[in-house]
Symmetry: C2
Subunit: 764 residues, 2 copies
């Protein structure tokens, strides 16, 4: 272990310590009146009940996958650490969701209470709670990465094991004569499995949470607002608690698991690409292989420390205006970003990373800012597109929908062009156009750079939903109107600061996916090398060959299968990923289709779950007397139960499809088909996700724009049309759209983990 | 000219002769009452006024492109026949639209009059009019192809020119020492430009017609049906004539130009792939190069003759029921398909095509049938998906939209999987997995086979809109209710038979696009060969080198530009179309984005044009007294004018974007970027098109299902929601969706034509 690497475990533990400090300081605040406490307790119970059930379902899936991976390890198309790495990734991702949500549910009443004192007080409680979430995510992610890296590099791959070999349960883990380079490749590709665990957990959290929150939201709106005519978050609405629970399980727990996966994925993919750098590239740049592998972790560690610094920079006077608060937040996030760039200048100066890689990170950050601004332009009611939708609302719901879809589809061009320029720019900056592997490493590093300050950017992202929930609490507790106004102001503040954060999240997801696809190719090359070397034209089926440079002993009882000499020799012919390979083009088609099919399934799921909610709310209005005049109490728990059940039932199929399809495509269409699937999924999925996110955001804000009194204001025909747009946009922006990013990465992670199987099958 | 090729000009002329016969026999029918004649005249005038204006705008675009291509030819990055071929493609495509629409506008009143006598009589008039359209399209397309092929092969490339060379305007067209193989390659790639002309015309026709018809439709519905509460096609609605004109310019002229382009494109692409077959592949299969090139034309010629036979097979007794009529139509289309397969068995038996190619065609036909059936399943109100949308309509417009989008997105899987299996199947059948070029040729041939009976399938496609228009005429002329019922029955009959036709159109578009992309790569290889050979490491800028095997004389006064030895030698490195080329991945992103951006632009265009129409109709209701009680006459012409102007203004930008983007990408990102653009455009565009077409179709039929009396029937809340869905679906299924197929092919055609420029720029 080189000395500076010590920063990695230290920073991750530091993140958890500060998360604990912020949590404790938040908990010191009062939850306000008894009514506020009661409502917060309802939401907390609902949210925890949901998470418990979710983890039970996901737990079963994890056990099944663990067993499958173990079987693969037993048959030696997988390495024996893989199943365990998979489980830890899932576990920590889930833990982050749990802790983040626990914090958020404790924070909502406290934020409302804070807001009843002053805007600034409300901000402090909400922002510090968001920071808990941010620091928990980066802390656990980096801790898990550091632990695995140290375990594999210091305990498994000790110098004596590398010289004499290491056996365990009859398997040879470390072959005699392992080189330093082989060691790093094995370590990083094993650690990628940890990413698959995180992605699996994240997809379930996003899809399940997205279905839950939108089913409750749509159900509450359609019956409560539209049919019964009572306002948002009114305690008379039976679905209102479920709606507030939904904000927590969807926007907080879902987002936490999502970003955990992005953050870990970008670091792991870049480390794997670093390990795959050819000796000639390292020689040219003067960087060691260990430096290339650990650099993304070290940048992440520095990012954590600077995020904590940034969080402390968010200070305002007690009498702060909205503008002061915004500036304070921007100072925190912007300050952290500038500091991390300075820190990276230091790394480049001392030769840990190349200046080209530094350039790639700058390009990545610029791309993130541009995408964030473009998102802001297309979805904020201060600009033409959203105003245009509001104007079309005067003609009724149909033109509202048509215009919103057109705005969403049209909004794809800036993010896509930016990503294309960003990928090309990072590639050229890091690789100079000739060093291919270095260029791809640069693309991965750009994503790491964008996400390095996630500790603070996630805080600015997460405090919006917390403020939103605080508003719900204030409404239900019938606090003075000004409290609700303040929480709304905080919510809006969150939306503004979150724009750049979202840009970073979207941009880094595309870059990470690109890096992961490259890592997949490396993995395929590795397996091909292992198998090709195994028997000089013979592959020993079932023989687990740990190193590509070492011919293994042939286990007895296994059937030897001959590979044609041509396929062994001509790797590039076997894996010629050109457009002319119809398998590749077929894969492209399937990847594109997967994005649409997955969106269809999640939207259908929301529809079905919302339908059940609508019926339950109608039933309660019908059967429980006196709900509307306030003399009867709605059965909140029933609605919570319905959303929970619906989400659990509905999240399973789309998530499993995302896991199974890459395996099937790999088995049926080989490596070319898989690469096509991933490339098609990435490009079409990214575009579709931007479309759905932006259309949903624009509809939401167009409705709010009308509610501000434009085109007739609340209750007008335009407003009714705006509500239709908003309702359609809900599953777009909160279920299907955000899930697509995870879908892309999960499919890639699954492919990476299954690469051994795919290669073996394609050679049989 | 080999003897059997004579079939090609003969069949094309035969098609035109029979079109003339059918036209004359249709014209013999009476147009009915004076009122019917008057209305037909209104529609005819409006449609012709529109086409005139459309051709004026398109004419300007063609002149500009002609000049640009001529400049390129002058600077020798283009061959001198290219500008002329481009113009003829556009001209004939436009002519087909004109004649088809003229026929349709003459037929509507006659069909209504026929339907007032019997269902069978109505069918005969409508179907024969549709057949005029079908035969005109295939006749002119094949005539143009035959003429160019004969001109180039018999007049330009005469044996003496091929030995001694041919000069014209100071340029050497035919170099001394041209081989037979070189001749065929030059001829077929030149003819592809004819396809670019057809595609350009088709895109304008589809986009312009689509905007026109939906602006009129949405305008008529929103104000007439929803606000004023008068029924469809009511003469009191000022936009009703424009609406009927729209059916003609969108559904008839637009569809005609579209299928002209598909038909010509599939034949030309396959001929080009036939010319590119390597000598070794020809040797193995015993097919000559000329046979490979002319076979798709001959199959098309036989298809024409068998289509005419099929048209005569559509006969029924005077007292025919709806079921009899359906069977008669299916006998005609199915019979033609079976006969063409038998004819191809003959070709395979005599060694003109391989049995593998025959197998590819069978696979293509099967894929077309499956896609057609899947489309039927997802959009017909007899099945779950559309019924589900109708059910959701009870909850209001929002759930109607969500469910429709989910159905549309979910419906992509069968067509995509079918196309993937079809492409792979055709490739393997024709090439056996090892003969790459033969496999790709098989993919192209599958498209030719699917479209070979277009003469009759287009007739079954086109008679639906004619019957629809006849219904409009009957309504406005206040004919007895049973007439409208009969035309509605005919319209529905058309929808049923059109399902398979649509499947063929969609499937063949994907296969043709795939074949065109392969042809593009051939073109690039050709140009690269030309330039690389030119000066042994030196490229003579501006030197038009006609043959890749002949080193040309270096013209004086031209600057010689050195290419690095590496790039000349290593073609595969320069054009390595692997996923790892970030330019390729960037292209994929951009292609995906283009599909969304183009859809956004066309939807926005419909929105703007419809908005203008809404205001005009409202103005007329307000200002012209007595419209609603029938004492005032609406100003129909004003609405026609507004739709015409709107369509012309709005169609320009999206169409030009489709032409310009591939050129820019080619210049900035080279061949890899272009291939990425085309592959991304094809895969994402195809999926998006299926989504939009099917969602639109399902909404339309869900509304009709409610109108049949389900969920409260007409006037219920569910019906109102259904109308919203239908209105949103209108631009989906009639503007954006159908335009996407042409977009994909036009971008590819442009790339093929610009290949010389792209290669030259990338080597400088």
């Amino acid at each position: 272990m080189n000395s500076i690497f010590i920063l990695v475990p230290i920073a991750s533990i530091l993140a958890l310590v500060f998360a604990w400090i912020f949590f404790k300081s938040m908990m010191k605040n009062s939850e306000g009146t008894d009514r506020m406490k009661e409502i917060a307790q309802y939401v907390r119970d609902g949210a925890m009940a949901y998470l418990k059930r979710q983890y039970k379902v996901v737990g079963i899936v994890f056990v099944v996958l663990f067993i499958l991976l173990s079987i693969m390890a037993f048959f030696k198309v997988q390495n024996p650490f893989v199943p365990i790495a998979f489980i830890t990734g899932g576990f920590f991702s889930g833990l982050c969701g749990f802790l983040g949500m626990k914090t958020a549910t404790f924070a909502s009443a406290r934020t409302a209470h804070g807001a009843s004192q002053s805007l600034n007080k409300g901000l402090q409680v909400a922002f510090r709670s968001g920071a808990v979430m941010g620091l928990v995510v980066v802390g656990f992610a980096l801790l898990d990465i550091a632990a695995w890296y140290l375990f594999l590099s210091e305990i498994v791959f000790t110098p004596e094991h590398m010289t004499s070999g290491l056996h365990f349960l009859g398997l040879e883990f470390v072959h005699a004569g392992t080189t330093e380079h082989q060691k790093l490749v094995e370590i990083t590709t094993t650690m990628l499995t940890f990413g698959m665990g995180a992605s699996t957990q994240a997809l379930f959290a996003r899809v399940g949470g997205g279905i839950y929150t939108k089913a409750a939201d749509v159900g509450a709106d359609l019956v409560g607002k539209v049919e019964a005519g009572i306002p948002e978050d009114d305690p008379r609405n039976p679905a209102t608690i479920a709606d507030n629970v939904g904000d927590n399980v969807g926007d907080v727990a879902g987002m936490g698991a999502d970003l955990y996966e992005s953050y870990a994925g970008s670091i792991l993919a870049t480390a794997a690409l670093g390990a795959a750098l050819p000796a000639i590239a390292l020689e040219k740049t003067g960087i060691t292989a260990i430096q290339a592998v650990t650099a993304p972790m070290i940048v992440a560690a520095m990012g954590i420390i600077l995020s904590i610094v940034g969080i402390y920079m968010v200070r305002t006077k007690e009498s702060a205006t909205q503008k002061n608060l915004l500036n304070a937040l921007l100072l925190g996030t912007g300050g952290s970003s500038v500091l991390i760039l300075l820190a990276m200048v230091g790394l480049a100066y001392t030769g840990w990373i190349t200046w080209g890689v530094f350039g790639a990170v700058v390009i990545g950050l610029a791309a993130g800012v541009i995408i964030g601004q473009a998102t802001e332009y297309y979805t904020s009611d201060e600009y033409g597109p959203t105003k245009g939708i509001a104007k079309q609302a005067q003609q009724g719901p149909a033109t509202t929908i048509i215009d919103g879809i057109a705005v969403g589809m049209g909004s794809t061009w800036i993010p896509v062009v930016t990503i294309v320029l960003g990928i090309m720019g990072a590639f050229w900056a890091a690789g100079g156009g000739s060093e291919f592997a270095m260029g791809v490493y640069g693309i991965g590093f750009a994503a790491v750079g964008m996400l390095s300050t996630l500790g603070i950017t996630l805080a600015t992202d997460a405090f919006g939903p917390i403020a939103d929930n605080a508003g719900g609490n204030a409404e239900m507790s019938e606090l003075p109107k000004e409290v609700r106004e303040r929480t709304d102001a905080l919510d809006m503040l969150g939306n503004t600061t979150a724009a750049t954060g979202k840009g970073f999240a979207i941009g880094s997801a595309a870059l990470t996916a690109m890096a992961l696809i490259s890592a997949y190719m490396e993995e395929v090359r590795l397996w091909f090398g292992k198998i090709a070397k195994a028997g000089e034209g013979f592959i020993t089926k079932g023989e687990y060959i740990f190193y590509n440079d070492v011919a293994p002993a042939v286990h007895d009882g296994m059937k030897a299968v001959k590979i044609s000499a041509a396929s062994v020799k001509d790797f590039s012919a076997a894996y010629d990923i050109t457009l002319f390979n119809p398998l590749f083009l077929g894969g492209l088609f399937l990847g594109s289709m997967m994005a649409f099919l997955f969106s269809a399934m999640t939207m259908k799921a929301v529809g079905r779950a919302a339908g059940a909610m609508v019926e339950e709310v109608r039933r309660q209005f019908r059967e429980i007397k006196g709900i509307l005049d306030g003399t009867g109490t709605p059965e909140y728990a029933k609605c919570v139960e319905i959303s929970t059940k619906g989400a659990q039932r509905e999240m399973l199929v789309p998530s499993l499809v995302a896991i199974i399809v890459p395996v099937i495509v790999g088995a049926a269409m080989g490596v070319a088909g898989v690469i096509g699937l991933l490339a098609g999924g990435l490009t079409a999925g990214f575009t579709l996700a931007v479309f759905m996110n932006n259309a949903g955001g624009a509809w939401d804000n167009a409705k709010k724009f009308i509610e501000k009194g434009n085109y007739g204001g609340k209750g007008s025909e335009a407003h009714k049309a705006g509500v239709v747009g908003d309702t359609v946009g809900d599953p777009f922006k909160d279920t299907s759209g955000p899930s697509l990013n995870i879908l892309i990465k999960l499919m890639t992670m699954v492919s990476v983990v299954m690469a051994g199987l795919t290669v073996t099958l394609s050679l049989l």
